[in-house]
Structures are given as C-alpha cells and as structure tokens.
Symmetry: C2
Subunit: 340 residues, 2 copies
Amino acid sequence: MAPPRARPRRATIFDVAAEAHVSRGTVSRMLNEEPYVSDAAREAIEKAIAKVGYVRNMAARNLATQRSKAIALIVHEPHSVFLEDPNIGAILLGTNDRLSEADYQLVCLIIGSDRDSSRIADYLRGGFVDGAVIVSAREDDPITDAIAHIGLPAVFVGHPFSAAGMPYVGIDNRSAAHDITRELRATGRTRIGMIAAALDRDSGSERLAGFRDAMGDDFDETLVVDFPLYSHRSGVEGMTELLARAGDIDGVFAASDAVAAGAMDVLRAHGRSVPGDVGIVGFDDSNWAVRCQPPLSTVRQPADLLGREAASMVLELVNGMTPETPGRILPTEIMLRGSA
Amino acid sequence: MAPPRARPRRATIFDVAAEAHVSRGTVSRMLNEEPYVSDAAREAIEKAIAKVGYVRNMAARNLATQRSKAIALIVHEPHSVFLEDPNIGAILLGTNDRLSEADYQLVCLIIGSDRDSSRIADYLRGGFVDGAVIVSAREDDPITDAIAHIGLPAVFVGHPFSAAGMPYVGIDNRSAAHDITRELRATGRTRIGMIAAALDRDSGSERLAGFRDAMGDDFDETLVVDFPLYSHRSGVEGMTELLARAGDIDGVFAASDAVAAGAMDVLRAHGRSVPGDVGIVGFDDSNWAVRCQPPLSTVRQPADLLGREAASMVLELVNGMTPETPGRILPTEIMLRGSA
C-alpha cells in the first residue's frame, strides 16, 4: 500500500455551524427538534446543510433517542460447527426477516475466541444495539453474564440454566428425543446406543435425558458415547467407538443430523447396511437429513421460526413489554424416512 | 405480553450533569478530554459518574472520533444458498479473525430482500461502521452503488464489473476453471458438458469462460446448461436436463461442489456410475467435496484467506492507506480425488 493520503472527509455538524455562523449547540438543537432555535438561525442552518453536503449521522440521532434501531444476533460456535450446521443459518435468516419487517437492522456478531467475547461485551454496552438474540450459549457462557449485567433486552434461543429467568424461545428437546427414540425401538431393535453431543448445552443434555427416558430399564450406559460438538466428525468418532464396544449394535440415536451422517459414513465403510443391519435416527431435519443415503428419520425443529419468534420477543422487550412467561416452546415433528 | 412497565433505565450524561450540578456541555467536555473544565467541576463529575452508575456510551465517544471500530460484512445471498454454501461461513470467519486481531468488531449484515438493501444503505451511511467487506455482489447490485455514493471504505470479495476501480480480493476463476476442465479431458472423456451457475456474477461467468477456453474446438454449446444459483438443486435440474439432451454424456464440469453433489445424486438415480460412466469435477473444495461418494475432484479456493485478506485491505483503507493495485488475486489449487 502507498503511504497515507487524505481521503475526502464527510461534512460534520461543525462544518454546518461554521458555515451558518451559529454554535454547534444551535445546530444540534435544530436537528433534534428542540426549542429555542430562531427562524433566522434555522434558515441559515438549512442553507449551510445543503452547501456543505452534510448528511445526518444516524448514530448521533440515536444518541438523542437512545435507540439504534439495531438488534445483535450473537452466535457462539466453534468454526467447524458454524460451517456445517444449517440451523444457525436458518435461525439467522428467520431473525433477519422478522426484524426487517419492523425496520430494525440485524447485526450478526460471531464469538470465535475469548477476545471476541470481551470485545462484544463492550459493543453491547456501547449503545450500538437496542437488544440481542443469543444463539447456542453454553452453560456459564461469559456473554450471558455480560448481558445480565448490562441490562440489555435479550432473548435466548435455547435455555441454558445459567440464563434462568431470562426470556427464551426453544423446543422441548427432552420429549422430542424421547419420541424419536421410541420410534427407533418400535422397529424391533434391541441393542440401541446414542452418540450424544454438546452436554454443556441445554439441548445436548436434554436429548440424552430423553433417550434415557425412552430406553427405561433397557438403558445401557456402555452404549452411550459423547462429544463436545454437534459435528460430522463426532459421528465418525462416535460410531467407530460404539462398533468397538458392541459389534452387535443394531440401533443408534445421533444427537444431530450431522452426527448421524458421520455415523452412516462409518457404517458404510464397515460394510454395515442402514437400515438393514443398523437403524439410525437423528435430530434437526436439516439439509443433512434429506441428503443422507438412505434419507434420515429425524426430529424437525423449526429453526427459522425460532429466529422469528426470538426477534418478535426482543422487539417486545425493547418496546417496554414484559413477557407473561419467560419462555416460549415451539412444536417439533417426527419425520420418518428410510434410515430406521 | 403484559402492558408496558418501566424498565431500569441506563444512567445518561444528563443524570451525571444533574448530580454534579454542572451543565451537560461541561460533562461532555471532560469526557472528550477537551480543555476548559475546572478542577472543581472535574471532581464533582467524577463523583457523580460513580454515584449514578454512568457507563460511557461508545457510540457517543465514536462520534467525537468519527470512528466506530466496527466493519460490516455484507452478504447478499438468497436463503437457499446461504444455508448450503460453506464458503460464505469460511469467508465470514476469516474476516472475523483478522478484524478481531486488530480489535475491530465485525458486524454481519444480511441482504435477503430489497427492503434490506435500502435499510442497510442507511445503516452504512449512518456512522455505525468505518468500512465494509462485500461478499457475492451481483452485477449492478444496488448496494454497490450505495457504497460508491457514500464513499465508505470498502473491499469486495470477488470482482463485479459494476464495481470496477473498487478494491477487491479474489481468485482467477477463469484459469482455475480452465485447469480443472483440462484434468477432466485428460481422463479421455469426449462428451463433456457444463452445469453453469450465477452468470450474473463475475465468478459464474468466468468459470464458464474458462470451460470454453479448455474445450477449444470441442466446445459444444448444447452441452451447457445454466441456473441462477450455485445450489444442490441447480445440479439436480442441470444433470436431468443434460441427460435428456445427450444420453451419451461422459463428463461434467459443475460450477460449484454443491452443484456437483446434486448432479451425482441424479446420476445415481439413473444408474450411471461415477467415475465409471460419467466423470464429474466441481469448484470450491467445500465440505460437499469430501462427503460426496466418491469424493469430488475440484478446485480449492482459499475462502478463509479471502476473508482475512479482505479484512486486512479494509483496515488499510480505514487507516488512510491507498492500495497500489486495486485487486489482489489469491492462488487456487486443483484437488484430484475419485470422481473423474
């Protein structure tokens, strides 16, 4: 790059004041529609604005109203999952659509490191946004504490224990996991395991609890493996481990569709047919599910509606409404396809 | 929701002024480290800040410096592609990492509708961000005009003609498409078609040009189909059409890996083997490529580095540097796997 040179500078309120021969305070009062601006000053300021090409700084106007008309969507995911989880994109788009209808700007902030966490806390504190939607928070996530401390209107997608009492929108992971496991049992399988994931999140721990509920007395903890992430790789490693532990395994509940896809790749490599030798069910009904061979039986969660509902709730909070109940639970649906 | 009630209000500069018995202007001068604040006023203001719990509004401070320390990443994609294209996520994460190192906040803005376009133009004009990175702009994209008009420091990922003269970072789509097509020809195929996509973008039109270059006198336009989006669905529809036009087709260059995956699903359904009956190559080296059966021969584009480089360039612009050349081209790599 060449050495710095002057770029054209945007005209400021100071330029307007100098041109109009009035004080900056007078320009500010007029722009904020406050009283005590003479007609003569008003006319001089209007001419000066046109002459210097001043464009109102929205951030400045927002300071007066204490409103930015922007809402943050905070995504806390490691890189691998961010790239493979279609739910995050669907939540993002649902939130964007709803906020757009209300003329609010969605600003998506990514937490990829501790450095990001602390800078984002400053950003939230800084008046750039009126509220926040938080996706995939972990238990004891520092951003949850920061939001509680700042007092920013915020809605969680999902329901971490550490955010108890804060508004959220989610699904009933436990009963949905119970129901899909029951479907798997109904196919006559007797040696059923689970590849669990993300037990540090409400969704992950509840899916395991639902599996345990459905297995009842037949629950066998040696047939449960768990991994930190809802990822294809967790499925690959988990299925490899389950086959090593129990060569006669005939059913698997994978904690997400990506996990199920990884497990199916391992079964294929081991010459086990799905659903002939091993039945598999997943969770999400994402793109993964319909592109598996065979297509995956799974739980549909309404990711775009979770985003829309979270957006509606945060707009209500921003406008001073108080939720009658802290959380809203959206329905899920069992999708039976060919994998079990 | 219950009727509105008062929420705890954040303390403002007015509260500080009232508590300290000084004017708002005096508080402002002190916070901005301007002169003309007496020691007595300074002490009173410091006590008042502590008492009322005032936290400095960053947006206010930024007004003084005309810096927000935030950079927008603008993604213009229809929903279907946003959810299936891992490149966008990789560019986003690369940009976020580089900006984070420089203590800048990335704010990702999604264009999903015309309404979004015009609101985002207002946002960019409004002083909320110091610069922007634009991903997947189309020819004559309104946001490109808006950015040129605002004079905001901006870097494009890719190089739309309508952004001629604006800084960009990209790859040489034409020569990469030429090279992967040449590899496909080298396997001895003679009836080679292309499923082109996104011809309204530089990447899409250049990939078609590169295919044409490599085919030379053997280029047959009846073996080229094109679709608006780089999507799995384009691959499904494109392969179906190509098989209808030419049952003896034995090679396909798909404009992206997602397109190639769709084409492979159709070939499987028609009982054609890959690479036995038909050789397929793609473009991107995304997650799609390694999970196809067989894994896909493709062009690797360094999506995360494109994001990092775009972030570096926009930071240079924000700091008043002028690029010596308007564009930077990053290298691609041919990845040969089992599909051709």
